[in-house]
């Protein structure tokens, strides 16, 4: 049995979000699935609803529409009947050739990964601060730990998320709220499949989700899998003059 009774997963139609939603639902948690593609969400909800006590609820939403967030958040909480766990698992990572600059694509990354996250997590944090319980999970990335040659804006968006979540954690901890920053390495999802080359230490979305749910017992930063923690420690400490010369 899950300790969670009610959860919202933003970005539940695929990848880590979908895996988290599936595991939460199968553990008896009532889940709200939020994404653009409701056809996909409905398939997941039907599948889960046949086994779980409660069929997950489905909500159509594009995180680019930040103005819709407050109203939708209130509606979801009401329809769920409560909220313990809020997961923001939406993110885009356009695969661009090295050395290419594409401002339109980069701004879209910022809109989705940054503005979308802020719009939702602000709502969740405001609510949890008032209700003095709840856990927020944000899916960052190891890519946020260092400014690397490839995908500068994606990496920066994840670095933003980490600092932002840390601030939210420090702001809400005194009200009993937990904030978990998840930093996965490569996870086998549609997002990474776009890269088209083998990735190091690739894990399945299911394994990632299981690790993330275990991490919600505490708050703080969690690397998924844990081996990324020492690896990223080393990478964070590579001197700048070396970083300029290597391709990682």
């Amino acid at each position: 049995m899950s300790k969670w009774r009610f959860a919202i997963v933003i970005g539940a139609s695929s990848g880590i979000g979908e895996a988290l939603a599936r595991q939460l639902s199968s553990q008896g948690c009532k889940v709200a699935l939020v994404a653009r593609r409701t056809d996909k969400l409905n398939v997941i909800a039907d599948e889960l609803g046949s086994a779980a006590k409660d069929r997950p609820l489905v909500f159509e939403h594009d995180v680019l529409n930040t103005a819709d967030v407050p109203g939708l958040f209130e509606k979801i909480c009401k329809d769920l009947g409560g909220l313990d766990l809020f997961i923001f698992s939406t993110g885009v990572m356009p695969v661009l050739p090295d050395d290419m600059y594409d401002t339109a694509s980069d701004l879209n990354v910022i809109e989705t990964n940054v503005a979308g996250a802020v719009a939702w997590i602000n709502e969740a944090a405001d609510r949890f601060q008032k209700t003095r319980f709840g856990t927020i999970v944000g899916i960052g990335s190891v890519a946020g730990d260092r400014g690397r040659r490839g995908m500068p804006v994606y990496g920066a968006s994840k670095a933003f998320l980490e600092t932002y979540l840390e601030a939210i954690r420090n702001r809400t901890a005194r009200y009993g709220v937990k904030v978990v920053t998840v930093k996965p390495g490569p996870v086998d999802t549609p997002m990474t499949q776009g890269i088209g080359r083998p990735l190091p230490m690739l894990i399945s979305a299911n394994d990632a989700a299981a690790t993330i749910l275990r991490a919600t017992e505490n708050d703080g930063v969690v690397y998924v899998p844990w081996q990324w923690k020492p690896i990223m420690w080393i990478i964070r400490h590579i001197p700048s003059f070396v970083m300029k010369r290597i391709n990682i």
Binding site: L80, G81, G82, K130, T131, R132, F133
Partner: protein
């Protein structure tokens, strides 16, 4: 602050400005709810209007002293009535008092005692509101003698979610009178309650304490003493097993008459009733729970219970003393903040009411089940009851045992399966339950103890008073869901 619904949009009223954590008294359950604290009837009506227009339900809440989810309403509206706290009228000659629902028991006794009156039925804490007391039809240590508080209500005004206010007495709107009392806030909101106080000559009771060594023994003592005593309460050491099972201590009390007390008028003064805030005149009681917390584990509690029994059996056995009415009545207030001993997980209280013929056996089995499963209540309280005429009554001609269980993350599941087993046992013993304490019942168990006829009768009144089902709580949804499921084909009423 008036809510000024006309000037505030639904968005503003259902914003996080009004969102709050609402907790059960036992602290083990909590919910997020939009909480409003109106101070006038107009705003009460406005809240009902807001609920209807936004499709949300409304829970009525007083001081929040129900142990479980009786005044919780997740993601919906909570009407906190504590600002309706005026005493509207008091007649010291007849002992009749009219109060608003948010008036606390503390306000009540402080108002009446100086004139030689005392609330006929009091709970273990004086911080409950009278609206909550009547809504739950609470009982005290004298339930066998004076019944629940409902028997002392002469009249009340109730505001229905439809906007209509009805005055109910035993003769006028009889059905609503006997159903709204104990109707756990499902039919309407009391706006005025008229109560008959109980005359007392002094502010003291004579308390006799003695030890008992089994449920059979305590039962016999209660039966024997019920005639002479005004109050009877038993404490049970739930850790004792085998031949010691059900051992405990009884406190029997009777009101003292004027000739038995030196300067009886002095005993009726509030300053001679107030609970002291220090132990031995030195140690502030408000810090005591921190020391008690050191014993907040099964071993510590076993030692405390055994020591209490050992003292009660030896130096405290058959001791008689005079005690102030408040000192005897409000045991839960004696140690401020004591419930924090159970923090952070909180506690649940499991209270079942068992008819005379099955009581001893059922309570023995209850404790044996707890001990076998390794979840032993830290406190057990034994009381005697009598039947009453209220529709949703919890009382029986028999006894109740209230068991305090600590809750933590690791025992929630086992506690659930334990209470499921206890619930079945209570149903087999033709027992009943009390909504102010409950957080373990299921729809099935509630239907069994209340009976189909009672539920249909209540559902019919619910439909009449609250056709849009505005008044709901987490408890009402858990136990009854949608009231329309109870077919409305009953003609005539139970009463």
């Amino acid at each position: 602050m008036s809510l000024e619904l006309s000037s505030k949009s639904h968005r503003e009223l259902l914003s996080s400005s009004y969102l709050e954590r609402v907790e059960s008294w036992g602290m083990s359950i909590y919910a997020a709810s939009y909480v409003y604290r109106p101070s006038c009837i107009t705003d009460l009506k406005n809240i009902f209007k807001l609920a209807k227009e936004t499709g949300r339900s409304v829970a009525l809440r007083g001081a929040g002293c129900s142990y479980g989810d009786a005044s919780l309403n997740s993601e919906n509206i909570t009407l906190d009535l504590t600002r309706f706290n005026r005493i509207l009228d008091w007649d010291p000659y007849s002992g009749i008092i009219a109060v608003e629902p948010g008036v606390t028991l503390e306000q009540l006794w402080k108002k009446v005692i100086g004139d030689g009156w005392w609330p006929p039925v009091v709970s273990g804490t004086m911080y409950v509101t009278m609206g909550g007391a009547v809504g739950m039809n609470y009982h005290g240590k004298n339930n066998f003698k004076l019944g629940p508080i409902g028997e002392h209500v002469l009249e009340f005004d109730i505001l229905l979610p439809t906007g209509e206010t009805i005055t109910c007495t035993r003769k006028n709107e009889t059905d609503l009178f006997y159903s709204a009392i104990g109707g756990f806030g499902m039919l309407g909101c009391f706006t005025r309650i008229v109560l008959q106080m109980h005359p007392v000559e002094t502010g003291q009771v004579e308390v006799t304490a003695f030890a008992t060594d089994s449920f059979q023994h305590i039962y016999e003592e209660f039966e024997q003493r019920a005639e002479a005593a005004d109050y009877l309460v038993g404490w049970i050491d739930c850790f004792a097993a085998g031949s010691q099972l059900g051992r405990g201590q009884v406190h029997a009390a009777r009101y003292l008459s004027a000739h038995e007390v030196y300067l009886p008028e002095q005993t009726l003064r509030i300053e001679n009733q107030d609970l002291p805030d220090t132990l031995f005149g030195i140690v502030p009681k408000s810090i005591m729970w921190r020391f008690m917390k050191l014993a907040a584990n099964p071993l510590g509690m076993r030692i405390i219970n055994s020591s209490k029994y050992a003292l009660g059996r030896t130096i405290g056995n058959n001791k008689t003393m005079n005690q102030s009415l408040t000192g005897f009545s409000f045991l839960l207030d004696y140690m401020p903040g004591w419930k924090r001993v159970y923090s952070p997980g909180g506690l649940i209280q499991y209270q079942s009411f068992i008819p005379n013929e099955n009581a001893v056996k059922c309570f023995e089995q209850q404790l044996m089940i707890c001990q076998k499963r390794g979840i032993v209540p830290w406190l057990g309280v034994f009381k005697k009851h009598r039947k009453d005429d209220f529709l949703m009554s919890h009382a029986v001609d028999g006894y109740s045992l209230a068991l305090d269980f600590p809750v933590n993350d690791s025992n929630r599941e086992q506690l659930k399966s334990l209470t499921d087993e206890l619930n079945s046992l209570v149903i087999q013993s033709h027992g009943r339950f009390y909504f102010a304490k409950d957080c373990t019942l299921t729809k099935d168990i509630a239907a069994k103890f209340l009976g189909e006829k009672t539920l249909r009768c209540f559902a019919r009144l619910k439909k009449k008073c609250d056709p849009q089902n505005i008044l709901q709580t987490d408890l009402s949804r858990r136990l009854f869901g949608d009231w329309t499921q109870f077919a409305d084909d009953l003609t005539g009423s139970r009463i």
